[in-house]
């Protein structure tokens, strides 16, 4: 490719050279032929005002012309005379020769025949270049039809016209430029000729080779043609071929040519320049360079390709090696994993085995102690049985705690993720300590905020474990006052905050940091007085951390302690149906209808709800139902309860009443005219938000039990969903759960 480009470039260079060479030639020849034409016309013009040939000025003018233009061989004037004038002309000629002996002059010519007799070619006034000028007789020349035709054209026009080559010189190329001289004032050629206004004829002899002056290049072919109308037509005036020896320049690779036309009134001069470009003319340097470069580039590309191939091969080999290493490491990792799994399994098996091995005899001890306690025993025997039963229970607690902690630290403990009722879980856990609290004369209170969701996803067992631990500690370390368990939502997040606040002995501030450490109690006296393993809070902390929560303690010595923790509990999307709601048992805990506040007073009767039930807005129920029979039915279900029921026949009425009243619960039918239950719920929730009101529980009542329908109720803002036909127990259960 490079070599081809270099070759093309070389040819372009030759073309440029040719163009440059031919410029000079073109310019020179063009000027020369133009000067020839001008001179011919000028001399004719000079002679017009003269009656005869005014020798001196003619001679001077022509002399300067000859000295300036080497291509003009001679200038001749042939007068148009009749016979009587021939003598007069010869006399004039003699006089001229006498006056200028240096000027070579022809002695005249014999008269021409026929129509051309009017020009006296026998006695021209002729001034030529030198004594070597070899001029043929003019009358012979103009006897030829070619020349006579030109002569006739010259006579009939007033312009210069070229003759064919005369053949008079050695090379045979010289030609005349002929121009008629008129008497001054004569314009009409034919008329002048017929009326004898032609005075004479100027003939300027041109050497065509000298037209080129010194511009001829040896390597160029040159041809000069005259082209005119008439018989003469195109005449080759000059032709020259290049003078190089072909074999030395190699074969012809290109042919260059150019034609230049110089136009005159009645004729034109055509110059044809040509050049054969031979191989020997081409500058091989660039081509060689290009070839070398091309070879170099090719070599480079080849080398690059080889290098790439080498690189690719190396890469492949490296990849294979890496693959082998990866495989080896994978195997090693797999072996390590298997070892770890084995170790983990061993640990799990150990824990399970130990758990079983330790718990089995413990269960036997405790179980036997209970059985023994039911038999007839002496006072001392009963005392001993109590002691080892309590010891067994204490040991069981310790074993459970240690095993739990071991499990957590061995990362063997996996939390469950199931839906459960967090409210019920807390209430039940607290419930377990009602008896103990009562024995100590403590008030045990459980408060759950209404915006705490019903169903959440999490590990209920482990959450219960933590709450039991905290409530147990609070009850244990409080001798008077109260223990308040509180559950509330952290703002608009799905984090729930649990707190257990007591009025117990408190924790010194310097010990607060360490209460969550394993096997740590406030001091040794705590263990002696209150017992315990010192693992409870540590396990609780680990469990809360596993739930991605945090736990902390606030306390003042002698005033009480608050242990609080917050965890994220997602709202469970799968909603329980009414059958499941109905199955959620209250199970006889001391929960007042409409209240989730357990008030245990030291009356010894835990089944008696706290006296003096307060009639407050939390017992007021808004029943929204368009079906009158259903309103009657639901009111009948609730008639035995501490409820004040107000009715609304559609959603719009319900929203208006809600905004004006104060209700602890809304029972909302879904399908209603004017405004349905979902729209009314959304309106109520928006109003509550706008007025910073805590959400009131809204239970949807609908004939639809599909999961999608339940979800629609939840999305609208309903707290719960009951499916029709409504059962009394299910309704009361739901009310108990959600109304505070």
């Amino acid at each position: 490719m490079l070599a081809f480009l270099a070759w093309q470039d070389a040819l372009d260079n030759e073309a440029k050279k040719f163009a440059y060479e031919s410029v000079l030639l073109k310019d020179t020849v063009g000027r020369s032929v133009t000067v020839s034409d001008d001179v011919t016309n000028n001399i004719a013009t000079l002679l017009e005002p003269m009656d005869g040939v005014d020798e001196e000025p003619f001679r001077v003018f022509v002399g300067s012309v000859l000295s300036r233009h080497a291509f003009i061989e001679s200038v001749s004037y042939y007068p148009l005379v009749v016979q009587p004038q021939v003598l007069s002309l010869n006399e004039s000629l003699d006089a001229l020769r006498t006056a200028s002996p240096d000027l070579p002059m022809d002695t005249g010519v014999p008269p021409l025949p026929n129509e051309l007799d009017r020009f006296d070619f026998s006695a021209p006034v002729e001034i030529s270049r030198g004594p070597d000028a070899n001029l043929a007789p003019m009358h012979d020349l103009f006897s030829e039809p070619r020349f006579r035709d030109v002569l006739r054209t010259a006579i009939e026009t007033n312009v210069a016209v070229p003759t064919p080559p005369t053949g008079m010189d050695v090379k045979g190329r010289d030609y005349f430029l002929l121009k008629t001289v008129f008497h001054q004032g004569g314009e009409d050629r034919m008329a002048d000729y017929q009326h004898r206004q032609v005075k004479g004829l100027i003939a300027v002899l041109i050497d065509p080779e000298r037209l080129f002056q010194s511009s001829l290049q040896g390597n160029l072919s040159v041809a000069l043609y005259s082209e005119s109308e008439g018989v003469s037509g195109r005449q080759q005036l000059f032709d020259k071929q290049p003078n190089s020896v072909l074999s030395q320049r190699g074969w012809a690779v290109a042919s260059l040519a150019e034609e230049i036309l110089t136009q005159f009134p009645h004729y034109s001069m055509k110059l044809v320049i040509g050049k054969q470009v031979h191989a020997g003319d081409i500058d091989k340097g660039l081509i060689m360079t290009a070839m070398v470069l091309g070879a170099g580039v090719s070599l480079l590309l080849f080398a690059l390709a080889r290098a790439k191939e080498h690189q690719a091969r190396e890469l492949r080999e490296r990849n294979v090696e890496i693959g082998r290493q990866v495989l080896r490491q994978t195997k090693e990792l797999a072996a390590a994993r298997d070892q770890a799994l084995d170790a983990s399994r061993v640990k799990s098996e150990f824990l399970a085995s130990m758990s079983h091995e330790i718990r089995t005899p413990l269960n036997a001890i405790i179980g036997m102690a209970e059985l023994l306690a039911e038999t007839r025993l002496t006072h001392d025997q009963r005392k001993y049985v109590d002691i080892f039963k309590k010891a067994g229970e204490a040991l069981q607690t310790l074993v459970n705690d240690v095993l739990d902690l071991s499990k957590i630290e061995a990362h063997q403990l996996v939390l469950e993720h199931i839906a459960f009722d967090v409210r019920e879980l807390v209430a039940e856990a607290v419930d377990l300590y009602v008896l103990k609290a009562n024995e100590k004369g403590l008030q045990l209170v459980c408060r759950i905020d209404p915006d705490v969701p019903l169903l959440v996803n999490g590990d209920p067992a482990r959450l219960r474990q933590v709450i039991l631990n905290l409530v147990g500690n609070a009850t244990k370390f409080t001798d008077r006052g109260e223990v308040i368990v509180r559950v509330r939502r952290c703002g608009a997040t799905d984090r729930i905050l649990f707190s257990v606040c007591d009025t117990g002995i408190g924790i010194p501030s310097d010990k607060l940091e360490t209460v969550f450490a394993s096997f740590t109690q406030v001091d040794s006296s705590t263990t002696r007085r209150y017992g315990g393993t010192g693992l409870g809070l540590s396990i609780s902390k680990r469990l809360i951390e596993l739930m991605h929560g945090e736990i902390w303690a606030e306390s003042a010595l002698g005033e009480g302690t608050t242990i609080a923790f917050s965890i994220k509990l997602d709202i469970a999307r799968s909603f329980m149906g009414h059958e499941q709601l109905a199955q959620v048992a209250v199970r006889g805990r001391a929960v007042d209808l409409g209240l989730s506040q357990i008030a245990v007073v030291p009356s010894g009767d835990r089944e008696t709800p706290a006296g003096g039930r307060q009639a407050d807005k939390r017992a007021s129920i808004l029943l929204v139902e368009d079906n009158a029979d259903n309103r009657v039915l639901i009111k009948a279900f609730l008639k035995d309860g501490p409820f004040q029921v107000e009715e609304a026949e559609n959603g719009e009425t319900a929203v208006n009443k809600f905004q004006l009243g104060a209700y602890g619960l809304v029972l909302m039918d879904v399908q209603m005219p004017v405004m349905d239950g979902h729209a009314a719920t959304r309106a109520i929730r928006a109003w509550e938000t706008e007025h910073a009101r805590r959400p009131t529980p809204i239970i949807a009542l609908t004939a639809h039990a599909l999961k999608e329908d339940v979800e629609k109720s939840v999305e609208a803002g309903c707290t719960a969903h009951l499916t029709k036909p409504i059962r009394k127990t299910a309704l009361l259960e739901a009310i108990q759960r959600y109304v505070m």
């Binding site: 079906n627 029979d629 259903n630 009657v632 009948a636 279900f637 009394k728």
Partner: protein, 101 residues
């Protein structure tokens, strides 16, 4: 068999309400016939909808089904179907024996 009663077991707590409830259902059949005479299908649909919503709550699940059928017949503008359901309701009401337990 003819003469046999349709036993419906109801919540004793509703003993005071059920007679009135059943009486309202008889009134419903009369109201439906009136609406049919006036070609008021919307009224028929409303009565059927209400019956559907209340029947089961009182322990009369069949009335809920009848209400569903009335609602569908009204939507389909089928007076013959509505007439058949009304006859069924009347027979049912005549034939039930409520047992409170």
């Amino acid at each position: 068999m003819p003469g046999d009663k349709i036993i419906v077991r109801a919540d004793p707590d509703l003993k005071d309400l059920i007679p009135g409830f059943l009486q309202n259902r008889r009134r419903d059949t009369e109201a439906i016939r009136d609406a049919m005479a006036r070609d008021d299908m919307e009224r028929v649909r409303f009565i059927g909808h209400m019956m559907k919503g209340s029947g089961g709550g009182y322990g009369f699940g069949a009335l809920s089904d009848f209400g569903t059928a009335l609602e569908a017949g009204a939507k389909d503008l089928d007076p013959q179907a509505i007439g058949r359901v009304v006859a069924l309701i009347e027979n049912y009401l005549d034939g039930i024996d409520v047992v409170y337990e």
